[in-house]
Structure formats: C-alpha cells, structure tokens
C-alpha cells in the first residue's frame, strides 16, 4: 500500500501518468460486505472465499474488505474509495449494492465489478453471479418432510423478493412430495441479519407447532433456539452445527471461493469479460453440510440421490405439473421452470396457505 501511494503521488508530482498495474505488483481486490464477517452466514461465506483467494494466490493478490456497509450512498462511497486506491476488481456481495456498483462502474471503466445476486448490468465492466440456492432448498425440503412429526415446518423469511419466495416454493414442493400432510408456517422478519428477531420468530414458530425450522436469514440464532427446544433446524449459508449439534440437520452452503479464484485469474490474464452466471450443485457453488446422524439411512440416501440428479441435470426442482397458489396452471406436466420465471417469482405455489406480504 505504502509503496503504491508513494509511486502514485511522486508520479503525480512529476506530471507523469502511471499505468494502473505494474507487472510485479499484487492485484488489489476489494470486497464489500453487507453484514459483519462474524455473522456465521452470508457475509462469513464471502469472507471465507476471500481467505481462499489469499491462500490460492499468495503474494499475487492483496485483498481488502469493508464490512457492514449499508446500501446506497455509503456503499457507493466505499466502492469509489476502493477504485481510487487502486483496486482492479471489486466484489459487491449483496443484492442491494446493484445500483451503487453500476454507478461506480460508470465512473471507473477500467475497474471490474462483480455483483452478487443482482440483475442490473448497465456497463460492460459489471458482471453478475448468483447461486441456485433453490436446489439446496429442494433437498432440505425433502429431508424436512421426512423428519417432521408434527407435520408443521417453520420458515423464517427475510424479505418477500423472488429469491426468497423461490426458496419457500422449492422447499414446500419437496416437503409436500415427501409428506402430503405437511404444512408451512412462514414468518417475515424484514432483515437479513437480526439475531434477536430471528430468535423471536423461531420461538413463535415452535409455539405454533413447528418441529423443523428453515431460515432464509443469516444468523445462527434460530439453530440455538431449536437446540434449546429440542426441535430440528437447517443452517443457512455456512455449517452451523456448532450452535446446535442435535438440532442441526444440515445446512445449505455457499461456496464462492472457486468462482472468485476463477474471476481473479481472468483479470490477471486480461481475459475478464462481463458475464451473468447462476451456478448450483453442478458447479459446486451450492453444497450441503454433512448430514446429521439422526437422519435415517434411507432419507440420507434419497437426499444424496437428489443432489446427484440435480447436479447431473437429470432433475429440475421445479418440474411440472405445478399450479400457482390460486390454482391457475404454471408448469405443465414434465415442463421445467425457465430461469426468467424463477428470477422474477412473485407467487406461491398451490398448497401454501400463507400470503405473500405486500
């Protein structure tokens, strides 16, 4: 850092232009996080991937990060300061950073931006990447359907956006297929990370009879509550087994490392191009944590079979016939959901009794 500053300022004093990357300089890569690196969830997985990057490239890269960045003016400022300080690749790791990443990208055409889970790509130095979490949700839905004794599954949801609704639908369809009597109770907490609210929601769901909890929020609080109350739960984003060794059935893992390494390599080789990827089990961006011992052998085998079939492209979690909640047909027999439908999903499938809040 110091050397770069010195070079830049002395060059400026002499009125010389410095080339953005000197050959032996490490590539500077910035990460903008929406939560704290210690959330044991979403941000923790991105930071784990950042550490993988450091390990993989050694002195070849220099990574830096800023955590708990609110979207909007703050995120835009953080990214601008990263661009100004010589970062050549910036990972904006939250849905809400989209407009900010695009604004900064417009002003720094030589800096590359990678935006997680977004949909706006206004400039050719903005790339999008996302994981097919619904594939993981299908498998945990199946396990939940098999494991529940009260036939009630509690779901702690964050915001009613397509990503979350897609997850609820995927989990519900497969829980229902495994156990036709299953019912979903859904509580919206309007936050990605709020341990206190998530814990309250978990308690409320257990009081309503749920004996399996799922969450689309990032803290480990629901796992701890499940452990205390002797019910089961699924971790989110990273392996949360330490917070509830008995309760934790498995977790949907986000594995960003390989993608980050691939993209950084592309910048080093000058082959980076803006893309739009949506990876799942097949590419390893989605994985499941080790299954809890309490899951019976046959359910375990079914789960593993599902993962293999999805990874091989033989099975799509949204395969018709599927009706919308109001009974109108969505997918015909044998038809699989187009990505566009999934990415804009704003309806529940037939059988879910709750309503999407508006």
């Amino acid at each position: 850092m110091k050397r770069r500053t010195l070079l830049a300022s002395s060059a400026m004093a002499l009125g010389l232009a410095v080339s953005p990357a000197l050959a032996d300089d490490p590539l500077k890569v910035g990460f903008v996080y929406v939560g704290p690196v210690g959330d044991y969830g979403w941000t923790a997985t991105h930071d784990a991937a950042r550490q993988m990057v450091e390990e993989h490239f050694g002195d070849g890269v220099e990574t830096s990060y800023v955590e708990s960045v609110p979207e909007g003016a703050d995120a835009e400022r953080v990214m601008t300061q990263m661009a100004l300080s010589g970062h050549e690749l910036i990972f904006a790791t939250s849905f809400g950073f989209g407009p900010d990443a695009n604004n900064v990208a417009a002003r720094f055409p030589d800096v590359k931006f990678e935006h997680a889970t977004g949909y706006t790509q206004d400039h050719d130095n903005v790339s999008l990447y996302n994981a097919r979490f619904y594939e993981g949700r299908a498998v945990i839905g199946h396990i939940a359907g098999k494991m529940t004794e009260t036939n009630t599954i509690g779901y702690i949801a964050s915001y009613p956006i397509p990503e979350v609704i897609m997850g609820i639908n995927s989990a519900y369809l497969h829980a229902k297929a495994a156990n036709p009597d299953v019912q979903f109770r859904i509580i919206w907490v309007y936050s990605w990370f709020d341990p206190a609210q998530e814990a309250d929601a978990a308690t409320a769901l257990i009081e309503q009879g749920a004996d399996v909890l799922m969450q689309h929020t990032d803290s480990s609080a629901p796992i701890a509550i499940a452990q205390e109350n002797g019910v089961m739960a699924f971790g989110q984003a990273s392996d949360m087994v330490a917070f509830g060794p008995d309760a934790h059935l498995t977790a949907i893992l986000d594995e960003w490392g390989p993608y980050y390494i691939e993209r950084i390599q592309a910048v080093m080789d000058s082959t980076w191009q803006a893309g739009d990827v949506w990876h799942g089990f097949a590419e390893g961006m989605v994985a499941l944590a080790p299954l809890n011992e309490r899951i019976p052998e046959d359910v375990r085998a079914e789960a593993e079979f599902m993962i293999e079939a999805i990874a091989a492209g033989e099975y799509h979690p949204f395969t018709g016939p599927i009706n919308r909640q109001d009974g109108s047909p969505w997918l015909a027999e044998g038809e699989t959901a187009p990505d566009g439908d999934l990415l804009g999903m704003n309806f529940y499938v037939e059988g879910i009794t709750a309503e999407i809040p508006n």
Binding site: S9, G72, A73, V78, Q81, L84, Y119, I161, Y190
Partner: protein, 361 residues
C-alpha cells in the same frame, strides 16, 4: 485527596479545550486498542483523521463526501437539540426521516415522467410536512393524553420502517424493476433530482439547508424569545411556567421542528445520495444525530462541528477497514470512545479539581 468543586459559572477555557482534549485522548486510547489488535496505531489514526482530508489519492473525493455524510446528521441534530434543551425527548427522528423521504419520493413518483420546475419545490414541501406530521403524533398524544414522547416517538420508528418496506415492495416499486423491491431512481429524474449544486463539492440542497438550519438555530436560540423559553423550560420548568411559557405549545414546537428538519433530511437524501426508496433506506441517521446533538453540546455551531467530526470518523473508518483490515466493530468502539471522553471531560467545564492534603483526624 481529590475533590471536585463546582464552578460558579462554566469555565470558558475548558468549554473550548475539552473537545480538543477529548479528541487527543480518543487518539491515545483508540491507538492502544488498534495496537492490541495488531495494527499500526499511528497509521490507523492518520488514515482516520488525515487521509480523508489530505491524502492526494482520496481527498478530492472524500472531502466532498464528508459534507454528504455530515449534512443530514447536522440537519436532524439541530432540530433535535431544541427539544433536548427543553427536556422534550424525541428519539424517533429516524422515523420522521423515513416518512419525509417517503412523502418527497411519493411526489416525485406521482409526477414521473413529467418535467416541470415545480416538482422539486413540491417534494421539499411534502418531505417537510411528512416529517412534521409524523412528529405531531407523539406531540399530540403527549399534550392530550400525557403519554411518554420517548416511547411513542421511538415506537413510531418501527411503524415507519414497516411502512417503508410495504411501499418499497408495493405501491412505490419500480414497474420496470422486474419484480424486485425498490422504487425508480429519483436521482436520475431531472425534475426531482437533488443534484450537486457545484460539481465535485458534495454540496447538494440538503447540505445547504443544514447550513441554513445552523444559522437559524443560532439566531433562534440566542436572539429570539422562543429560544429563551426553550432554555428556560429545560433549566427551570417552574420558572418557565411563571414566565408565561405554555408547556403544550413548547412540546408542539420542539417536536414539530425536529420532525420537519428530519423529514427534509430524508427527502434530500432520497432525491440525491440514496437515489431511491428501498427497504433498507433508513440507515440510522436519525439515531446517530442524537449523538451528534450531544457531541455538539446542543449548540448549533457545536453540532456543525460534531457532525463534520463524526462524518470524518465514518469515512476515515471505512478507509482504515479497507487499508488495514480493521474490523468495523473497532471503528464503532473508537467512535464510542470519542463520545465517552467528550461527555466525561464535560465535567471540567463545570467543576474544578482541587487537590487537598488529607485532614488529620
């Protein structure tokens, strides 16, 4: 034995010297914390306080950003300070800020895509009225039913946040946004945009309004009978009543003013730096402004300086995270130390420290 002796009047010297001393003590204690975290303390302090202002790589960008960050804090804190002086505790500026933004954005989105000169002034009016009206709820409940304004104003923040979420996902959602929550970009809508008045200065209408609020706040507090009433009501409520201060009217005025300014801050933010209504729009300016108000000793000029100082620690704190890998919690602790030392040293302006030999029994 150390003894504290009350000064007959606050010391002028210490009133001016304590903020400087507090900043120095924060640097020392903060530096120690950074050193314990294994980071170079001198570099960290330099990055937080010096680099945003003078580093050739950043300063041309971060100096204007300082105004962008401090503007809403100052605007809200000036409004809050009047109530706090009169013992009227509006803790809900965050809610008034959100409602002001929603009203301002509502006007903009209603007229979209019409281009006309009157849209922005109408938005300003709507933002101010929205914030004012939201603050009138605790004001009326207090004057009519004697409810506690601390609780009511705070709880209304959560109501405002829910309203924000509902509108971001419902009525205000961008019809061209593919079903995702969040409104159209208002900053890109010329008639409604709160743009930089002079390029690359960070000066937008919200910052200008904050400066005007500081000047008017100063005049109101020191040159106007209302300011006198506010001070009197806080220091001697009984005397204030004898002097003809109507406590109900004072509650209405203080809460209303704070709501109005918070609403304006929200409206300028949504039309400019934030750019659009979204679920996470309220990022805590309304709460941070409470700290700014007290850091600035509830005095308009003090608030101006406090807002800039806190803005500096935010921007410098981000730089320190980025360049040294400091955790954001360390930056928050650092900001907490600053507040702690300022308030603790406040004692020096009101008390004298006397060293007396122990008396022999």
């Amino acid at each position: 034995m150390i003894r504290l002796e009350r000064r007959p009047a606050p010391s002028r010297f210490w009133t001016a010297a304590t903020p400087v001393l507090a900043v120095l003590l924060t640097m020392l204690a903060g530096g120690l914390m950074f050193a314990l975290l294994g980071k170079d303390p001198v570099a960290a302090i330099r990055i937080i306080f010096w680099d945003p202002l003078f580093n050739p790589q950043f300063a041309s960008y971060s100096r204007p950003q300082l105004l962008v960050k401090a503007g809403p804090l100052i605007l809200i804190a000036v409004g809050l300070s009047f109530g706090f002086r009169a013992n009227i505790w509006n803790i809900g500026a965050e809610g008034q800020y959100i409602i002001g933004a929603l009203c301002g954005a509502g006007v903009a989105l209603a007229f979209y895509p019409l281009e006309a000169w009157f849209i922005f002034p109408l938005m300003v009016l709507a933002g101010a009225l929205g914030g004012w009206a939201w603050a009138m709820i605790p004001a009326i409940l207090k004057t009519r039913f004697n409810t506690n304004e601390i609780l009511v104003s705070l709880l209304l923040v959560y109501v405002a946040e829910r309203l924000l979420a509902a509108l971001a996902m419902g009525r205000m959602r961008n019809p061209e946004g593919g079903g995702f929550p969040g409104s159209r970009n208002i900053a890109n809508y010329p008639s409604a945009s709160n743009t930089e008045l002079i390029a690359n200065t960070g000066m937008h209408w919200g910052v200008v309004t904050a400066f005007i609020a500081v000047i008017f706040g100063y005049i109101l507090l020191h040159r106007h009978i209302l300011g006198y009433h506010v001070q009197l009501a806080g220091q001697a409520p009984r005397a204030a009543r004898f002097a003809g201060v109507n406590p109900d009217r004072l509650v209405m005025f203080c809460l209303g003013l704070a709501g109005l300014l918070a609403g304006l801050a929200g409206m300028f933010e949504v039309a400019g730096p934030a750019g659009r209504i979204n679920i996470d729009f309220g990022s805590g300016y309304g709460f941070t402004a409470i700290i700014v108000a007290f850091l600035g000793r509830l005095h308009p000029i003090g608030i101006l300086l406090a807002g800039l100082l806190l803005g500096l620690t935010y921007i410098g704190g981000e730089l320190a995270q980025m360049m040294l890998g400091l955790p954001s919690a360390a930056i928050q602790a650092f900001q907490g130390m600053l507040l702690f030392f300022l308030l603790a040293l406040d004692m020096l302006s009101n008390y004298r420290i006397r060293l007396k030999p122990r008396e022999v029994a």
